[in-house]
Symmetry: C2
Subunit: 139 residues, 2 copies
Amino acid sequence: MPKATIKYTGGMQFVAVANSGHAVVMDGPLSVGGNNSGVSPMELLLMGTGGCSGMDVISVLQKKKQHVTSLEIHVVGEKADEHPKKYTAITIEFVITGKNISEEAVKRSVQLSMDKYCSVKATLEGTAQITYSYKIIEA
Amino acid sequence: MPKATIKYTGGMQFVAVANSGHAVVMDGPLSVGGNNSGVSPMELLLMGTGGCSGMDVISVLQKKKQHVTSLEIHVVGEKADEHPKKYTAITIEFVITGKNISEEAVKRSVQLSMDKYCSVKATLEGTAQITYSYKIIEA
C-alpha cells in the first residue's frame, strides 16, 4: 500500500518521505507563517495530476511509434473561496511536440489516460471538475 | 490560481515546477518502464495530505501554547484493484511528541484541520474515505 511519513521540520516546513524512498520538502508562503522553502501541499495535487497523466500519454504514444521530442503538461487548479478551499476545478493541457505526430494517436492517448488509467485524475474528480485539451506542435 | 508545469524528461521521468517556484521529480517503478528516480504521482497525494493537515495542526498547537518537540504524520492509501486504481481510502495518524501536551488541544487541532481547514483532505474525500487518529507521546 502507498505510504508516506511527513515530519515537521520547523516554521511551516515539513519533509515527506514516501515508501518509494523519495522525499519532498513542503512549506507555506510567508502569509501563513511559512518561509516558501518548498512546494505547497495543494500544488502537489496538480503536479501529481500532470505526472500521472503524462506517464500514460507518453507510454501510449511510444507504443504507437510516435516521434515525440517534447511533452509538457500544464495544470491549473481553481479553489473554492471558503474554507476548506478545496479544488473545485482542474484544467489539464497536454502539449506534444514532435515530427509527423498523429492527431488520432494523441487524442487516443489522452482519452485513455483521462477515461481509464490516470489514478490521480480518478481520485481528484470526486471533488474537482476536470477538463482537458491537447495541442500538437510540429517541430 | 495554483498552477504547475510538468515536463517529460525521458524514461518515465517528469519534472514538475509549481508557481511557487519549487520543483519535484516524478518517476515510475521499474515495473512500468520507469527508473524509480523520483516520487510517484499517487504518493504526492499522500504527502500533500500530511503536509496540509500538519500545517493546520502545528498552527493550532502553537496558538494554544503547546510545547511540541516533534510532529509526524503517517499517511497510508488504499487503492482500487481495477483501473484507474484510484484511492478508495486514506488513513492519517498524527503523532505529537512534547512536554505536558494537552489531549484536548491535540484533539481540537486535528478536528479543525479535518473538518474545516485542510484543502487537500477536502479535495480527496470526494473519492477516498478518510479516517484519522492521533497519538501523544510525552517526552
